[in-house]
Symmetry: C2
Subunit: 491 residues, 2 copies
């Protein structure tokens, strides 16, 4: 709290890094690329987990747990999968250390070499489908609707807290179905759940769409995604849902007997969101003073700070506050009364602003006299003096209001920063000024997509689900196109 | 479900292994020693997690997340810690695979060797205390009360589902304090929480005590534990809570400035329970027909099976059942109506018996006429016909009753199988006949403890907290002793 945050306009990237650390969300660990998620940050993640987990269960999914380690040979069984993941994985080769004969700590024991190396899971399709082989014999065993909350490791070279870390936490759903239609429906259903979660809980509007072949998950037939827009005009992929076709079933020989007794390969899906969502949450809403958290995900929704000159005043304020606290808790609102004497109110105000507590109440001598309390909103920084009469209900509706208002602000930002470009010049000019989502015609070839990426650093975020039929010409090649896709520079 | 379980008396060990698999709790994976926790098993673990997590939070702890990987050098910083864990750890040495030049899948890329090997955490004291160094400067930063839910890996050579697996899930609490007194109080508090959880949720009575020096956690000054007794007369350590003294603070140079400005090393604790509790839960209560689950941890508390001859009957039963289901859900009771036409009632009865569903309702034609339902208890296998009037409240109190009754049965078993031995002959005879907890005098030396272990395979489970002052002579050495300790053969 000693010095101000860098501002977003000065240095967006530094603003983000500093905010993550100073708001006690996460920090880098001694292990390259691995982060420590601090208690305050983790409590936001727990709220995300709970909300998502409830949604998964409501749609019939169960949780399970599969091994951290994947035999090296498994990874190779699906050709494009190994292509996608072999280049960045942590490999376990030994299972024991021993004392260094030179007396310097411990060394790897060369006698404890594994026969087959193990990969720390970068994602679990292979180990899960190898298990499903034993679980699925008949159409009666289908669908299998399973989710796992787990840590995964991808040895990324350039890492950033939450956005790209070597180890991250996530959930990965892996479902198995008797028909292609059912698997596609599941893929789309989970995309809708992610979109709903992003919008209703994170207050973050998203574009739903399909990835191009280039950007598909390694091993999928089709990848659906939600894409959000950050305040610097860059896109962030916030969740993906994959239709795996029969690829993993074929690779791991998972067949089922259908109602007519015929053996067929099983159809699969997988879908995931990760602690990356924390990065999205932070960047979507926060300002130069700190975090702005949607009330539904805020670990502390209301903080109450007493302003007093002496013990007697403090005691009177505390009496009033304890009633407010009781009433708020009854409504299921999380509230903290900060009567810590070691810090001044001004310091506390700045601290809770930094941490994004949605509503701050302050009570002083005049409030005691008048039966009022000062109510400050973190998102708009507006204050009002409110009667204690019915204060809890007032705050409840204020929290709803804030949730909606944060969403609307983000939605307005997204709308204002979604552009149409009809020429490559226009396209470049948008990317170099405001950034944002750029809707443009594309000829549908990987070649053009790659060239645009090379020249502009913009990628096709998705082919939007609500894509309108519109004949046009590709901004790069001039070839015909039947509809616009969403381009952006991205995290 | 094709053939019966092995019985406990025939082969206790096989009974356990088969039960774990057939009740869909867990199975071995393709990776040696790593298990797959299946959805039904995982849903029990989730209930355990939720209950424990609530208890941790009520006592002021927060969750956080620390890296999976520990630099090899960290492990060596605390001398006895590395002794305890170096011999059984998974070591990551490389961060990339590449295509085999001989065209056979992928091989480890020799150019991607890590400068320093990473250990997959067997426990996180080292990585957490290296982090605490940056978090703790002053007494104002203390206490630090943090818990982590995570997977850990210990490369055990002989593994058994839940009881001993290379990878397991657990929670590990790591707290830091300004004084030794406070840290000891925390250690004891967490032991009490574990005991309370075991007794109130798992319906499993435990002995609370301290470990001998030999059995202490590697790096602790003192280890407290809860020990439970399984039906085969073997003990199972169900949770441990360690007073770390200043050992890890010293190893990682974690000091704080006290109120007088003096720099001191921080005092620490750590405490954990794992998926091993699943093994304890299974072995404490289950019988030759399958699982017996205490209602508080049962994923399905009540199952309802219709018994019908035709569609019309089924439809009438379903109408009645839907009311029962609604009423049960209102009371927070989890209920499943199994109207799957593919299986006969008898099959379903056996299946839910195997899975330990505490209460089974069956409704047939006569029940329809009489306005009744058949209520069967899993634990006692008793049945009664009950009027539908007030059935939900009846079941609610029945569930409470079952929870208590399962506990009382386990308590009686523990009491009946807790013996006092005054000679080594008596001691051996108890171990070789009934097994159980044997209270005996011990001279307090590691030497005697080890000899007894060698000769009898029994270990000192703990020095019980409620140990009575009683002068006697060691059953092995004949030397004086001031109180009895708890011996048993153990898992």
């Amino acid at each position: 709290m000693s010095k101000a945050l860098p501002t977003r306009s000065e240095n967006y990237s530094e603003w983000y890094n500093e905010l993550v650390k100073r708001a006690d969300l996460a920090e880098n660990s001694a292990v390259r690329g691995c982060m420590v998620i601090k208690p305050y940050g983790y409590s936001i993640w727990e709220k995300m987990q709970r909300a998502l987990d409830d949604m998964f269960k409501e749609t019939g999914h169960s949780n399970a747990y599969f091994p951290l380690f994947i035999p090296k040979s498994y990874l190779s069984k699906e050709a494009s999968h190994v292509e996608g993941f072999a280049k960045e994985c942590a490999v376990v080769t030994h299972y024991r250390l021993k004392n260094d004969p030179n007396g310097k700590g411990v060394i790897v024991d060369p006698d404890a070499k594994l026969e087959e190396e193990l990969i720390v899971r970068p994602t679990s399709e292979t180990v899960i489908w190898s298990t499903y082989k034993n679980w699925i014999q008949s159409y009666r065993d289908l669908p299998l609707l399973i989710n796992q909350w787990a840590n995964v490791v991808r040895w990324e070279m350039r890492t950033r807290l939450f956005l790209r870390t070597a180890e991250f936490l996530w959930q990965e759903g892996h479902t198995a179905h008797a028909t292609s239609t059912e698997a596609v429906a599941e893929t789309k259903q989970m995309l809708e759940i992610y979109a709903q979660f992003a919008e209703e809980w994170m207050a973050m509007p998203v574009v739903k769409g399909r990835k191009t072949e280039n950007e598909r998950f390694a091993g999928a037939e089709d990848t659906y995604c939600i894409e959000a827009l950050m305040q610097d005009g860059k896109a962030l992929q916030a969740g993906t849902s994959h239709f795996l076709g029969q690829n993993f079933a074929t690779a791991f020989d998972v067949k089922f007997q259908d109602k007519d007794g015929k053996l067929e390969y099983v159809w699969g899906t997988s879908w995931g969101v990760s602690t990356r969502l924390m990065g999205a949450l932070i960047m979507a809403h926060s300002d130069d003073n700190g975090l702005i958290l949607p009330p539904k995900l805020a670990p502390i929704q209301v903080v109450i700070v007493p302003i007093y000159k002496n013990e007697e005043q403090l005691s009177q304020i505390s009496d009033k506050v304890s009633e407010i606290v009781k009433d708020l808790k009854k409504l299921g609102i999380s509230v903290k009364y900060d009567n810590n004497d070691a810090y001044k109110p001004g310091y506390k105000f700045a601290e809770y602003e930094l941490k994004g507590v949605p509503v701050r109440l302050a009570m002083g001598a005049r409030d005691l006299e008048n039966g009022t309390v000062e109510v400050a909103r973190r998102d708009t920084k507006t204050k009002e003096t409110v009667s204690l009469d019915g204060i809890a209900l007032h705050i409840q509706s204020l929290l709803d209001n804030i949730q909606e208002s944060i969403y609307n602000k983000a939605l307005a930002f997204k709308n204002e920063n979604t552009f149409r470009a009809d020429t490559f010049e226009e396209f470049n000019s948008i990317l170099d000024t405001t950034g944002g989502f750029v809707l443009a015609h594309w000829d549908g070839t990987s070649e053009t997509e790659e060239k645009i990426k090379e020249e502009t650093k913009a990628t096709i975020r998705c082919i939007p689900l609500d894509q309108k039929q519109e004949n046009g010409t590709c901004i790069y090649s001039g070839k015909p196109s039947a509809g616009r896709v969403v381009f952006a520079r991205a995290y």
